[in-house]
């Protein structure tokens, strides 16, 4: 079953016309990690926003589990939303500094409604434990956590509604390597436990090369190439893909030449 099929279109804003996404046609395989790569400004975040229905495409549609999500009305949307979630970039900005950790993690449940305050609190504690944070920290505020811990909070919040599909928007950027590894392991564990489908948005090709099963390359609003990891990294077809891979290798070799650690 193909989980998604996106065909996209130009996106116009009032005075300035920005074609954020042009004829995007993307298939995302279920229960796999698909990576979306490209340079800054190529439209990755816009695509992500559309996928979790924070924005609507001007043309084309998004299909999820057989439903056309982009043409749903509010009621159907409310039902489908919990299944499609996103972990945002910049955990400090994505978490309300005045909320406690427990409030942050439980907020999606609170919005969906129907739970008592006690239940919310215990659910928040469970979620925190699941992502590797101690439930004792439930009353701490985001600024009291480290970057990696905040990212865990963001992940805990994202899985609160038991989604099927999770977009990870640069979730591993800005973290030091050991923390990255820990978060990565967490994500892979969660993927197995909850049968999640991931879309990882990243500009870090070496990371993508290690973990992604499928890769799509974006350039200036278009998807220029997509395929399995082996296909993209082994036999890049498009000129841009080759450029990306080359720059990645150049960086690595320069690093080596300079005598840096690998």
């Amino acid at each position: 079953m193909s989980k998604r099929y996106v065909q996209r279109s130009p996106f116009s804003r009032k005075k300035f016309v920005i074609d954020a996404l042009i004829d995007v046609d993307l298939e995302i395989a279920p229960k796999c990690m698909t990576a979306l790569v490209g340079e800054s400004g190529c439209g990755k975040s816009t695509l992500a926003s559309c996928l979790v229905m924070l924005e609507r495409p001007d043309r084309g549609g998004i299909w999820f589990e057989g439903n056309e999500v982009s043409r749903c009305d509010a009621a159907e949307l409310a039902v489908l939303r919990p299944r499609l979630q996103m972990v945002f970039q910049d955990s400090a900005g994505a978490l309300n500094p005045r909320f406690t950790a427990g409030q942050i993690v439980a907020e999606p449940l609170e919005i969906q409604g129907g739970e008592s305050a006690k239940n919310l609190r215990s659910r928040a504690g469970e979620l925190m434990e699941e992502v590797g944070l101690s439930a004792d920290w439930i009353d701490r505020r985001p600024l009291e956590f480290s970057g990696g811990q905040r990212q865990r909070l963001a992940i805990a919040r994202a899985i609160a509604l038991k989604p099927a599909f999770l977009v990870l928007d640069e979730s591993l950027s800005g973290l030091d390597l050991s923390t990255q590894a820990q978060i990565l392991n967490l994500l892979l564990d969660l993927k197995t436990v909850h049968s999640l489908t991931y879309l990882l948005i990243s500009h870090d090709l070496s990371l993508v090369g290690q973990i992604a099963e499928f890769v799509a390359v974006m350039h200036q609003g278009r998807i220029v190439e997509q395929g399995t990891r082996q296909e993209i990294f082994g036999q890049p077809q498009h000129a841009h893909t080759r450029d990306l891979l080359n720059s990645c290798r150049v960086m690595e070799s320069a690093f080596h030449t300079a005598g840096g650690r690998s």
Binding site: V52, M53, L54, L77, A78, R81, P82, Q85, M86, F88, Q89, D90, G93, A94, L95, N96, R98, I104, E107, P108, I111, Q112, R157, L161
Partner: protein, 343 residues
Amino acid sequence: MMPRPKIVAALIFLLSLHLAILFAGFVAPQDPAVQNRDFPFVPPTRVHFVDAGGHMRLRPFIYQWVARADGVYEYQESREREYPLRLFVPGPRYRIAGLFASHTHLFGVDAPAQIFVAGTDNYGRDQFSRILFGGQISLAAGLLATATSLFFGLSIGCAAGFYGKWIDESAMRLAELFLVLPWLYVLLAVRSCLPLHLSPAQTFLLLVAVIGTIGWARPARLVRGVVLSAKNRKYVLASRGYGASDSHLLRRHVLPHTYGILLTQAAVLVPQYVIAEVTLSFFGLGLGEPMPSWGNLLASLQQYHVLVSYWWMFTPAIALILVTIGYLGVANAFHQQLQSDSI
């Protein structure tokens, strides 16, 4: 987040002022409406610690003012009898906030002497008592008008910042219009189209409504700015992703950001609006006799002979200054707290 000592000190000062005014009946030694036709324009009673014989007394005392045989409004102290100053003295009956009735006053002297802390006016009414009772009116007007302005400012600013587009455009144009008008001119103009002779209660409400409604523009702009920046934060976006309704977003994420602004604006607006009421009453367009208001208490200074000879008629100004200092101190302290919080 402990409030800084500055805020606490400023708030205590302000609170004591307000308490004194709220309990005006208790603090004031006289009934403000009682006229002593025998004692018009009496200067403030002097409090003595040393008696005629040169002895020091522990308890301060006063002498009765007595009209001089020669001058019209000249008084001198009658050294016949000393009246010691007492605390918790029985006196005229009064009601606190229309609920409690009592007749104990904070301080006073035995009959038939009367203590005039701030002198009397041309009807022989005790200025000090009138200042305290007048404060109830002037302060209440300021507070209620501030509440009105902030209510409108919050609603319009939130709507403009949150929903944007044409609501924002039209609200901000309207705000510019209101900001460009000189408020006192507008106040007088609006006042002029309303009936001149209203009951005191009606006048009061009218005053509050007019003053409060004109001043919504600045708070609205500030609130809008805060709402705009809050609206664009990532966590608001994230909440939308979880299906949050507008009211949830407003309530949980956006409104808490406005509290700081609202408090600071309140501290700035209250003294301004008190001064507005005082100005209007001073010109005779606000509250008139016999209701005391700091404005109409000061109005007698417009007469030459009062201005020149009876300096104690200036005392309501002291009350006004104290209130202004109190609120501005709180506003400053809030502002500093806000700035250090947002770092």
